[in-house]
Symmetry: D2
Subunit: 298 residues, 4 copies
């Protein structure tokens, strides 16, 4: 089927190729004209503006947005609202906060435009060769656009998750789990590193991937990583984060439930971004006050 | 090759079958005579005592112990020490604490007996159809008995990990990671359950298993679990534990490192085993004292 | 000086008495007419409506609001905005979220009304005999009303904290610290309770209060609590919470910093409010799937 | 009464002065001869060896040991066992692990020597002017030596806690609570530091100490600390630790209970001692593998 695609970054560009591989007709737009040109050479119809994009699509139009979450997604959706018509559909395939998606749903509904909040996992390789989708939105409308997801996902790699918001919420929780799993794996390797034994981490990851309880794609990735740098000597342990882990913890707190593992995995990321902490200074100062314990001077 | 096997419980019995499938000759012993009889009918040589077992094995003998960790393993290894001869080998395939294994190594070395601490993962199904081994011990001797592991593991599912202790230590850390991964997954599903959305958990586990970043055997198992009880209504959330998670946290503390996610996953298990807590009472009493906040009476 | 007081609950009623003890003239209002009558008998000028209250105060008026945080505070402040005049002052002495206080500041500024966000600590006894105030707002205006705080606080028990929001923010953090301190004390007593020793908890609290590093008002309160119920047998360990602990953790996450102790103290409160957890069920189900470990049936 | 004192470090020297202030006769020993000389000039009877110490004391002798916990305490107590007689008493006033104290109890009992495990709090100032003692040991014997504790403690600052081990165990838990309280305070100040407000931390500590719920000696100490260095600019946030926090967490794990706040306060200390972590590298490497996220190169 015909689909407009906005955003030709790492994810969007690969998705365009994936869609075309499966016979879909892609009308592609990006703020970067070169990327539009590139994808046009690969078979897409170029659109150098939203107007061009809209004009090339037959009604009801389907526009898949693959741009950074937050302000940029907000702007693109606002602009789409002004140029699309009743019955058209907007897919947000980015990592938007589900509360933003609920807002986008309401806003587009004012003009009769359907919104789908689609959590996308699998990374850039997934976008190209078989991704993973969690899709919230109107169920009847979903059936109309289901081929887009079915064709570009791995087998069984997409799910209609219910009303709007449920797609991005599920992706958020997926990433929260990911944070916890990653930190668990990371702590395990650090215990190995501090142990009196001398492990070959790549071999450890490999054996854990063949028949053990924790076999997983993340452990596969660690095998890859250790194959390139056997003790990760070239990098620093700074753990950055985008928003989903934070939102997951915020949701847990909002629902007044305990999620200590996901919370700690988030907080250890924040801790890793600091060279020194004020809390550490306070404890050091207190120990000095009551026990005369030495402090480390700057 | 010929191997003695002590312990015909869920793991040992399946391992015996697995060994025989691959042409190994198994001399099998268990305190339960019926289990010995059963495995004899499946093709093993029965041994109703350790003496019988030892007498049926050619030197240098190899004896694989698959009994519960702790006291029972201690006793079996002590008994083996008295009946085995120099050059024989003892494999501990149970979930022993690596510090016990270091002790067993020293004890058996006094008689010139080789010890292997073999962490075994993959569950009962793995024992039967392809397990996962992490093997610490003498490297030259390991080569002599490698076929036992190679033949009964999944492909690439065994690893010689170095000197004694390193096999059980690695298995311990594997299980510590498992604790953290499980708690992360569990918290994620609880957030879904408390959300304003209405998810089909089995479908969620399925889609996460097809192309997402967190795809893993544990998520596969959740798909199975939810297929039998869609919202786990029949069970209580009591999380028991055997020793490895605890030992992993003890090791982290011994090494003076932060392992917050594994520590919290352990502590939430302990918390789940209590109906009420004294710490909760203390906080409730304090709130009542300073703010007149209501307490919940028994 | 003359001051209007809205809210004659546990805190407000005691504050009225405290203010009058120090020679201030209190015009008191509450939705509960009986409480207005009671405080009138104690010497206050009754005001059965906001109009009555406003009419009895000379300009520039000072109105101290002591009502529950959230919607009720919002409503009262909205109503005050409509009846007060330029140059008047509103004090919010409740436990409002500082973001609400920033909003109230802006709203009242539209009419030239000054707002003070005053975090109040010390409990009901403090309100009566010497409280504790953290005061955000205009510094020049603060000097005009400083006697109200100075006279009703314990010595050195009030602080001008800077621009609007800083008073309620500081009180929020104070309570976050309180959560962490309380949970630390609570965990300590639970370790004592689970130990092989047989402690007299009241005596323990008493000795800790006389010369030890952790001597504190909270430990004094525990001495009181144990003097009434030596092992807290009559109560359940359900730890409720109002908003400040939650907001503190939300702030830490917003500032992208690690606050694991305050976060865990909050989450253990939430955990204590549940009889069973979905996360616990997920872990139990997983253990059953891979290891055949028994689950606890309902 | 007459008492032998071994160990004239910061704590022991002050204790000797304190004992003498209250009319006790101190026979003092230390490996450092100069310290023995110094205390002799202050009025103590010098003892340059354990034999000298023992010979100067009338039977039944009481020997108070104030030396570093662990190996040194072990050695001193072993030596005392060989020179003391039946009916004599040994007080260990150091921060020994209660399991060591149980061992010392059994060892000394072989010769009929009574052992007291005495947890001491209050710091060096407490040792000089009024300390805090938690005392485990034989109750009848305790009564014989009670004046030593009563006279050198602050009022109500000593407690007989029951059988041997209970004194050092209680001190251990006291310190565990201390860890949690310190980390809670520290996180609170870090939130203030990261806030949009501009607080005077010394003034904050002061106001919190006058009438607020968290008033405590620790907050007093923070007031002192901030009075010397208003934003702790001169020090690094490295939080060292001696053993009690670690032992408290080990005990919690041994008792299979959740103590998340004390555990996290310990782990954040360990984290503060590292410039970089292997766990951080693992997470950074994973993020790079699946999402192409930038790593920070060394």
């Amino acid at each position: 089927m015909q689909v407009g695609l906005i955003g030709l970054g790492k994810m969007g560009y690969n998705l365009a190729l994936n869609l075309m591989d499966h016979g879909h007709q892609v009308v592609a737009n990006d703020v970067n004209k070169d990327q539009v040109q590139n994808i046009a050479e690969a078979g897409a119809q170029p659109a150098y503006s939203l107007d061009e994009l809209v004009n090339q699509l037959e009604q009801p139009r389907t526009v898949w947005v693959m741009v950074p979450a937050g302000d940029i997604t907000d702007q693109v959706i606002d602009q789409l609202k002004s140029v699309l018509d009743e019955g058209d559909r907007v897919i947000d395939g980015g990592n938007s906060n589900y509360k933003d998606s609920l807002r986008h749903t309401e806003s587009l509904k004012e003009k009769g435009i359907y919104f789908f909040d689609v959590g996308t996992s699998g990374g850039t390789d997934g976008a190209r060769h078989g991704g993973n989708y969690m899709i919230g939105g109107d169920q009847e409308q979903f059936k109309q656009i289901e081929p887009l997801f079915k064709d570009t996902a791995v087998e069984n790699g997409y799910l209609y998750t219910g009303k709007n918001g449920s797609g991005h919420f599920l992706k958020m929780v997926h990433n929260g789990i990911e944070y916890g799993m990653m930190q668990a794996i990371a702590e395990g390797f650090e215990i190995l590193e501090k142990s009196p034994f001398d492990y070959d981490y790549e071999a450890v990851a490999k054996v854990w991937n063949n028949g053990s309880v924790i076999r997983s794609w993340l452990i596969e990735l660690m095998e890859n990583a250790f194959s390139k740098d056997s003790s990760l000597e070239s990098i620093r342990g700074v753990m950055n984060s985008s928003g989903e882990g934070k939102w997951t913890v915020e949701s847990a707190i909002e629902f007044e439930m305990a999620a200590p593992v996901i919370a700690m995995s988030l907080m250890m990321r924040y801790r890793s971004q600091e060279d020194d902490t004020f809390s550490g200074k306070v404890v050091a100062a207190l120990r000095n006050e009551f026990g005369g314990h030495e402090v480390v001077k700057k």
